[in-house]
Amino acid sequence: MSFALGFVPIALLLLGFPIFLVLLTAVTVALVFYMNVPLAALHQNLFGSVNAYALLAIPYFIYAGELMGRGSVAQRLVDFVQSGVGSLRGSLGITTVGTATIFGAISGVSAAAVATIGRVMYPSMTKAGYPKPFAAGLITAVGAIDIIIPPSIPMIVYGAAAQESVPRLYAAGILPGLLIAGLLAGYVMWRARRENFGAGEPFDRSHFFRATVRGLWALGAPVIILGGIYGGVFSPTEAAAVACIYAILVTRLVFRELSFAEIIEAAAATTRFTAQILIIVSCAGVFSWLLTVNQVPAALVSFLQSLGVGQWTFLLAVNVLLLAVGCFLDPLSAILLLTPLLIPVVKALGIDTVHFGIVVMVNLAIGLFHPPFGINIFVAQSVLGIDLKTIYRGILPFVMLYLIALVLITYVPAISLVGVWVLIN
């Protein structure tokens, strides 16, 4: 059995097979050669894994973000944040961080944030004299906040894999997301003051008022999503659906930027992305079922208990593992592959699964822009035309900042759980 559930998936993963095929091959080998269960279980588990109302939030949130990212929403958010930042040193950098954080509360897809905000902010920052590696590093790193700030697609997937409530995860992601944004903004100010670049324009009340009015429709999306969920008005899936209709109305009727053909095209792009994710969710569901019936997680728990591993040691080991995995694997696949194995151990050690979910998100967020293979690096390279050397030179301080945040979030559970206590409990 260890051949089917251990060797086969690892070998095929390394050979670069599609993740869904890696899982499905392992499952097929296990069912055909090693197990004596009705083969109908394969279909039942494939179907059952995506037969879940909570998963509807995935395409709905992706679609809302897809629509809002196609028009002038990013520019409006940038204008709003920048007008509020005023003359602070590094104002454009702080604007980038602030806009990415707000955009994260609309989209939840990290690469979209890098591309959308990068297109607006990278030329502005370099024109204003920001060092190119610094601007490139900031743009590449800042998009990773989007998978920590709700609504986050990886959090929905983690929720499904760990059987944890999505509203609780979303509530737990708010403060860690803001903590990272704060660290990034602080670093931008420190660098700008030390190297004397990025002087902002003085705060102008009438400009701020105009920018706020222009940005109101864009700011409405996070208000609907988060206000709706935590006001008890909508479930996360309903909030996502309402955000989609809101995005259609705003981009089509208010901003008059998207045609009906573009609205359909955005929906088609959403179905492609959704299928990429959900086929893995489905296959991971069968794989996870096989792990459970073969008592692999239970054996792992016993093994770790025999070693006397405590919470802190386990979390440290998980951080190292996830940082390594995150360098090579996209967050969704990593969550689906590892969560079924790790969650029983997490529960056995008495770690809160919501807190653990946020630790997973921060680790995988780092993987999104960690050299050499973080996907956001290639998005920045392709969309903004920045060479890899410049990005690599600029990214390292931001990796360090995220690692500081990771240590804090890992070992101070209250940073994650305070959102749950305040908004849910």
Partner: protein
């Protein structure tokens, strides 16, 4: 001949994508109608949740077949891209063979399952939709994947196909 088939399948794939896109919009609309109905008119459309989930299931599986056609599945291809082209060529064939066998196996198992629930006449709890409709998404999609792999295989033999890893390189650069 193969190029002509390729063009026709591509057009079919684009058409199916549009259908799935419209289905997604229908699902979103039904959800919002229910929310509005609940708060403003005190009604709820029965079975809407089931319809939305069944749309999602078709998007997931049929969409996966489309993603296979477009060569867009998520994969960890860092190592294989660093290998010489002869190794990539070999691994590409191996991947196709595995995909063919596994997809055919899943399609067959799924078809047998759908056949059984069709014979039983099972319907969903609230919307009373025959359950063979959502369940057949798996059989149809994996059968489509089998056909796609066969076509890609023929294209590679004819010298007009690409290795999966090369497709991934293209995506990264686009």
């Amino acid at each position: 001949m193969l190029r002509s088939i390729d063009k026709h399948v591509d057009a079919l794939a684009t058409w199916i994508e549009r259908v799935l896109a419209v289905a997604l919009l229908v699902g979103i609309s039904l959800n919002v109608i229910n929310v509005i109905g609940r708060y403003l008119a005190g009604f709820a459309l029965n079975g809407v949740d089931e319809i939305e989930i069944y749309i999602l299931i078709w998007i997931a599986f049929l969409g996966a077949a489309l993603v296979t056609w477009r060569g867009g599945h998520l994969r960890m291809d860092v190592l294989i891209l660093a290998c010489p082209s002869s190794v990539r060529w070999l691994v590409g064939w191996f991947e196709m063979a595995v995909m063919l066998v596994v997809s055919a196996f899943v399609a067959w198992q799924s078809f047998k399952y759908v056949e059984r629930i069709y014979a039983l006449g099972a319907v969903s709890d609230i919307a009373h939709i025959p359950t063979w409709i959502p369940h057949s998404a798996i059989a149809v999609s994996f059968a489509a994947i089998v056909l796609i792999v066969l076509l890609r295989g023929l294209q590679r033999i004819a010298g007009s196909g690409q290795e999966p890893a090369d497709k991934a390189t293209e995506r990264a650069g686009s």
